[in-house]
Symmetry: C2
DNA sequence: TTGTCATCTGTCACGGACTGACATAAATTA
DNA sequence: TAATTTATGTCAGTCCGTGACAGATGACAA
């Protein structure tokens, strides 16, 4: 890696670090791009060459998490039922936040604290989750041997499980033992979701075909 | 109603109308607040006295829909199982979009077209849906005789059904027979969701207590 | 009708998030 | 070292959104 690339990577990290430090101590809204840029001794214009927006910086980590979750799912055994595979993938992801290097755990908690404190960020982070969902749907559909474009069942399954995860997160807005309660809550909502679903539903063994109206095949 | 109030109501509607006309012909992003204000012959400052932001105007109708959905749920018979009641409430809501006065239907379709064309708006409209969910959770918990603050099951149930609705909406991004395909898709995803859930799960007759960790009762 | 009062509105000034254009400085490569 | 690429800073400008102030316009009572 050349010097140029190293420098870029370095200022990028510096921007993120300084930004979150400011977010935590002043709040997200109250922190201006100019402040962040000044903290790294960079012009405001340069900030926008690294991040499309202030929000982009704040939610930058989501792409990393997306990577973690999708690979976790891909690594699950092929013969595992889709719901179980998804549940384990998420479990592994959240567990990784705990067992990772202390510095990674620290970062994760910082992110959560900043996001949870700001409704707009929270909203947009959910929207990013929707991006992750799309990828998960593709993998689930593959495992189910169906076409996600015409069959809504993979989407529904993924939507169900991410709903459970989201509810788990929502229940954990504490300060002190946040990570512990988060893991416990996600675990319990996942269990609840498992109990709520009809056994074997995720395997498409029975039931209707689940065709849906697309531009091509609209009813009537 | 006095003259003053009538005028306010009038300019408010004029702002919405002019705005959506511009949104449809130029796109949401490309339309500036100044343009909207100019179209109604009002100062830009006044625009912000009617709406907190451009987005607020674009998503103004959500409060109306929130009202429709929550009252539809409240009107369902008390002895109806929660899932059935929720499903019917949403069905009624969407059906109302079709059977309403033609002008209301037209407005609904305009809204959808503008929203669907803009990722940011779509995201935020989902966030507003989260607000609706909160109200639904309260009503569902009441019907289930449980406390939504400590028991995640009402939230999970509501999250499941709104997921189904959302998937139904996502499958319907056509132009021509949009409303028809929307109704059909929502209907079919609701049916799918019904099939996916274990019968009677929504009535809390059996299963674990579903306690969740809050600040008060966090596990270790 | 008139005068007081509340409220709505326009104007002005401003801050903060972004963007395009251009020049400069730095690293890469030959 | 020279030529080329690429990152950065400066500058000017747009748009969203807000506080402050003053003038216009209904509301209402005497």
């Amino acid at each position: 890696m050349g010097l140029r690339e190293r420098k870029k990577h370095q200022t990028r990290l510096a921007l993120i670090d300084s930004a979150f430090e400011l977010f935590l101590c002043q709040g997200y809204e109250a922190t201006t791009v100019d402040q962040i840029a000044a903290a790294v001794d960079v012009s405001p214009r340069t900030f926008f060459r690294y991040f499309g927006s202030k929000e982009d910086l704040a939610l930058d980590f989501t792409v990393e998490y997306e990577e973690l979750i999708t690979t976790a799912l891909a690594a699950r055994p092929q013969d595992e039922p889709p719901f179980t595979a998804l549940a384990h993938a998420f479990r592994e992801f959240i567990h990784a936040m705990e067992t990772n290097a202390a510095e990674d755990t620290e970062r994760f908690l910082r992110h959560r604290r900043v996001i949870d404190a700001n409704p707009t960020l929270l909203t947009t982070s959910f929207a990013r989750m929707a991006e992750i969902e799309k990828k998960l749907v593709v993998e689930v559909a593959r495992r189910q041997g169906t076409d996600p474009a015409t069959d809504p069942r993979p989407r529904l399954l993924v939507a169900f499980i991410t709903s459970a995860i989201r509810v788990g997160f929502e229940c954990s807005v504490d300060g002190a033992a946040y990570l512990g309660s988060l893991i416990w809550n996600v675990e319990s909502t996942l269990t609840l979701a498992e109990e709520a679903l009809r056994p074997g539903w995720d395997q498409l063994s029975l039931g209707s075909s689940g065709q849906v109206a697309t531009k091509a095949s609209s009813p009537r």
